[in-house]
Symmetry: C2
């Protein structure tokens, strides 16, 4: 399997991310179809020229011709889909995903797929606080990072195709991590930050404070408009690693509180200097 202009690409799940994949691949000159629960979303995407066609039903016809299938579903729905319809995928096809946790998903999916179908996992580190295909656009990938997450079962060819998708979609940086490394990274950079934003909104009544706030509170809580169904699933699928990061954060926060209680200005300043120095690395590529 190589990726060319005649490759039959199927997206399963035409929401914000699936729709943005469709938008980017179509703009890149590729042929994209979609399967999604709501026929209205298919009609919308066809009308916008994001896909050539699609269906709200999973049939042998719609699935069986696809060379590449991109699953943009919640983790448990992805696994259930493979259990139910995996046999419809043709041998030689390559499938990939956009799921935010990997260890709990990748081995499982790789082990239940029919022979000759290869699953290469990927994680586009992009999103918005709104959902659905109507908010989809490949623009969300432009300054974003894309992680390919192979296991020892994956072939070089499939890894290459997965990277190629990232390039076509316009990601800024394309990296490779193992499922374990990926989940550690995501627990810290993404899941812990969502825990903090949610906690910040829950720890105090904030109603009426809109007219006093500066930008810092808005920045720290942008992601607090959270999809509770998806994120609770992601958190629990990565529970041990997230709990470890929460513990690390709690300890450092207690240290800062301790300095505050003691009035230890130098201790506070030392933490602030470490913070400022480390943050500079993230500025370079802002």
């Amino acid at each position: 399997m190589t990726l060319g202009k005649n490759t039959d690409i199927l997206i399963v799940g035409l929401g914000l991310i699936g729709g943005s994949y469709a938008d980017g691949l179509t703009k890149g000159g590729y042929k994209v179809r979609a399967i999604t629960a709501d026929k209205g979303d298919i009609d919308y995407a066809v009308g916008r020229g994001m896909i050539t066609g699609g269906s709200d039903e999973v049939t042998a016809d719609t699935v069986g011709t696809a060379d590449i299938i991109i699953f943009a579903l919640y983790p448990h729905i992805f696994v259930e889909w493979i259990e139910k319809y995996g046999h419809l995928i043709k041998p030689g096809a390559v499938i990939t995903d956009v799921t935010g946790v990997k260890s709990a998903i990748v081995d499982k999916v790789q082990s239940i797929l029919p022979d000759g179908v290869e699953f290469i996992a990927a994680h586009p580190m992009a999103g918005r606080e709104v959902s659905g295909v109507k908010n989809a656009s490949a623009d969300i990938f432009r300054a974003a990072n894309y992680i390919v997450v192979p296991t020892e079962r994956n072939t070089d060819g499939a890894i290459e195709i997965c990277k190629q998708l990232g390039h076509i979609l316009g990601f800024k940086d394309i990296s490779v991590l193992s499922p374990e490394e990926h989940d550690e990274m995501v627990a810290f950079l993404s899941q812990l930050t969502h825990c903090i934003a949610v906690t910040l909104m829950c720890c105090n009544q904030s109603e009426g404070l809109e007219r006093y706030t500066g930008d810092s509170f808005r920045d720290l809580t942008r992601i607090a408009r959270i999809n509770d169904e998806m994120w609770s699933e992601l958190f629990l699928l990565n529970r041990d690693k997230l709990l470890y990061e929460m513990e690390q954060f709690s300890q450092a926060f207690s240290q800062l509180r301790c300095y505050m209680i003691k009035g230890d200005r130098e201790g506070i300043r030392q933490m602030m200097r470490t913070s400022a120095e480390r943050r500079r690395l993230f500025d370079k590529i802002d």
Copy 2:
């Protein structure tokens, strides 16, 4: 005292905020002079047309003619300045400030000022991660909030002048809070968020993670490039209120950890729903 085009306005401390005041007031058609430690900053601001003139020395001449003086200094330097030079301010003058804490400052300054000089406190809720007059611009006030912080010693006239400054500078919302209310609000919305951002940078080695990160980590740590001298002072001047907010945050964070440990999906989702609902109020005026 009323504020008119001939009012002699003096800014003490020509950094990011003092410089941005100078920029906004000059663009509004007012005459602005400045006193600041570095003569180069005066020359720069004169060259840019941000001020008509100024000095790196505090003399009876430079201070004594001013009708309005705006202090844009670190809190303790502001108090020391008043102790040392307050007698140079002419009776009838109104002075204001930009300090991020109020209870620890306002009573003190009001009690040591000479008779006939009125101090009306204000807090422009705006800033940047860079400092100095060369980064100053009244643009930083455009979408920002401005808080006037009077005590029972203040006159309606001075409160009105202080609000007028906020209008001229182009703030979006102008509010009035007591020093106590102000410091509670700032402990939660501003100081706690800075504590969290600093903690997030300190709790884990993040070097090399730039190429994997999504936007959430960048958003939560934008303010982690912190000025340790200024913020450690602000934290300690508002210690009890900040410690209370840190405690509230810790409790809510522990609650979320507890749900995670127990695998209580519904508990997690309930916190997320509360979070999403409350955050919507802040979106309206984003």
